[in-house]
């Protein structure tokens, strides 16, 4: 049977390109390009694969800003059918994001909601649980495999010590781990077509947000000894002593 799948896409600053100020150690965020979070690509890939196998439709929701249309176009190029861009994102507040997304999810008929299990900028990892609580739909978490059988979704959930096969009725929330798939690189024609596709944009209402007082946010200081030998034989002799000491 065909499935209607909602995929939640997150856009983050490209942290691989982020530098910290050599003097103060503080992050330099100006002019940092935005990119689609890697795990969101895994989520899109999982959703599009389900569509290719069973039929149905993939809808993407991005909670972002006016700068997020590029991320939606990238989602389209990967195979997303329709996109909703909710503007008004104002920093990493998972409780706000969860409420905004859950509200929109409730207005779109769906069998599954698929999202990444964590994002690389903050590693909060709470969104899947929050959305499950807000929608009342069960969470099949950290999936490395998804199988659909009628109105049942079964996933292999990767835990720290072992994997667990779990299942539930749909509608359900599935968070995916990076091992689930290799996100496709869309061909040029699809990228060009994606650029012409309309994006449904609407502002998301301001929500009460939780804030903390930042005491410091700097590159962590390392107090390593940094004794580096360029003479290999001397290095081997000294380092082997240090190793023996360390594992004594």
């Amino acid at each position: 049977m065909p499935y209607n799948v909602i995929v939640l896409v997150k856009q983050i600053p490209d942290i691989d390109q982020m530098k910290t100020d050599p003097g103060t150690g503080e992050p330099i965020l100006q002019n940092l390009p935005l990119r689609v979070e890697n795990l969101s690509k895994n989520a899109i890939e999982a959703a599009v694969k389900l569509k290719e196998k069973h039929g149905g439709k993939v809808s993407a929701i991005i909670f972002g800003t006016d700068r997020s249309s590029a991320a939606m176009k990238e989602s389209y190029a990967m195979g997303v059918d329709e996109g909703f861009l909710l503007t008004g994102y104002d920093g990493n507040h998972p409780e706000v994001t969860a409420k905004v997304l859950a509200e929109k999810i409730k207005t779109i008929p769906h069998d599954l909601v698929i999202l990444g299990n964590q994002s690389a900028d903050s590693y909060t990892g709470l969104l899947a649980g929050k959305i499950s609580a807000l929608t009342g739909e069960p969470l099949l978490g950290n999936a490395v495999r998804i199988e659909m059988d009628g109105k049942t979704a079964k996933v292999t959930s990767a835990l720290e010590e072992y994997n667990l096969e779990i299942k539930s009725d749909t509608p359900a929330i599935i968070s995916v781990a990076q091992e689930i798939n290799e996100p496709r690189l869309p061909p040029v024609l699809q990228i060009m077509a994606a650029g012409r596709k309309p994006i449904n944009t609407q502002p998301a209402g301001p929500k009460e947000k939780f804030t903390s007082v930042v005491i410091s946010n700097r590159a962590p200081k390392s107090d390593r000894k940094r004794i580096v030998f360029e003479d290999v034989d001397k290095g081997v002799s000294e380092v082997s002593k240090a190793i023996k000491e360390a594992i004594r």
Binding site: I15, M18, E95, T124, G125, G129, L139, V213, V236
Partner: protein, 297 residues
């Protein structure tokens, strides 16, 4: 302060209880069966959750315990399941959350936490009134207290999730998070076959082999359970030997708390040397055999 501590990994429960001992009253909740001696880490009450442990059921049960027991803080071990339960509970009770914390101090009714941010590039220290926290494994070295917990059995409500099957990880898999000594290889190792060449070093120091993200994920020269880094395992061995690892910040975030770090890299300017106690600049395939024979002396 009164805290409710939860993790599906009871060793993490013991670590969190140890870290807040003397600073906050604490009860703990674990999924049945209970680990031997888990009642000796300072929880006044120990809730043993019995029945099918779906995260929805665990969250409902703990939300009820939290509200009725008038707790101030919910501390969940940051595991896959721990983060899911923390997300659900924070939304069910509408409590502010702070995640992945590596340090926790109580100050005038507020809490001061530390966590890594921007992919581990910065350390963010904040004061807040967060009430749900996910805590990184290894926040303290677990130690027993004098008192014994009162055991309370709690039957979990029905879950919407059915557990079909448990699949053990592949044979030969390891838990590098517990390793005392790690020999870790990076892209500089060159090939899967070359890993054999550094195994004598791992044997000489009784260490486990681990690797960086490219080695474990991109090239799959090692299995994923051996990946050290922000998106892999966070390790804290007595000795971490980095071979041919450049030292990207995402890698450092996974091994930063190692006690002694040794790095071997042919690039003198590799950032790993900034994060090392001892380093040797040169060809690792030349240096490793020399090191092995020096260690055997």
């Amino acid at each position: 302060m009164k805290a409710l501590v939860f993790s599906d990994n009871q060793e993490i429960v013991a670590q969190i209880l140890t870290s807040i001992r003397g600073k906050s009253d604490a009860d703990a909740a674990v999924v049945s069966p209970v680990m031997e001696s888990i009642d000796q880490y300072g929880a006044a009450k120990l809730y043993e959750l019995t029945g099918t442990p779906g995260t929805d059921a665990i969250s409902q049960s703990l939300s009820k315990i939290f509200a009725e027991g008038k707790y101030d803080l919910f501390l969940a071990g940051s595991t896959v399941r721990g983060r899911e339960v923390a997300g659900m509970l924070s939304e069910a009770l509408n409590l502010p959350a702070m995640t992945e914390i590596s340090d926790l101090v109580f100050r005038d009714g507020k809490i001061v936490t530390k966590r890594f941010f921007y992919g581990g590039k910065t350390l963010l220290e904040e004061e807040s009134s967060a009430r749900v926290l996910t805590v990184m494994p290894g926040i303290s070295e677990a130690s027993r207290s004098q008192s014994r917990s009162e055991l309370v059995k709690v039957e979990l409500p029905a879950s919407k999730i059915t557990i079909v099957n448990r699949i053990d990880k592949m044979a030969g898999s390891v838990n590098i998070e517990k390793a005392q000594v790690i020999v870790s290889v990076g892209r500089g190792i060159g090939s899967k076959e070359n890993i054999e060449k550094v195994k004598p070093l791992a044997e000489a120091v009784h260490g486990e082999i681990a690797g960086s993200r490219p080695v474990c994920l991109d090239y799959q020269w090692l299995s994923e359970d051996r990946q050290v880094g922000l998106s892999g395992k966070k390790v804290k061995p007595k000795l971490y030997i980095a071979l041919g690892i450049s030292g990207q910040i995402q890698h450092i975030a996974g091994m930063r708390t190692s006690r002694v770090v040794v790095a071997i890299n042919k690039d003198k300017s590799a950032p790993i040397f900034e994060e090392a106690d001892y380093g040797i600049v040169g060809d690792l395939f030349q240096i490793v055999p020399k090191l092995v024979s020096a260690l055997k002396q």
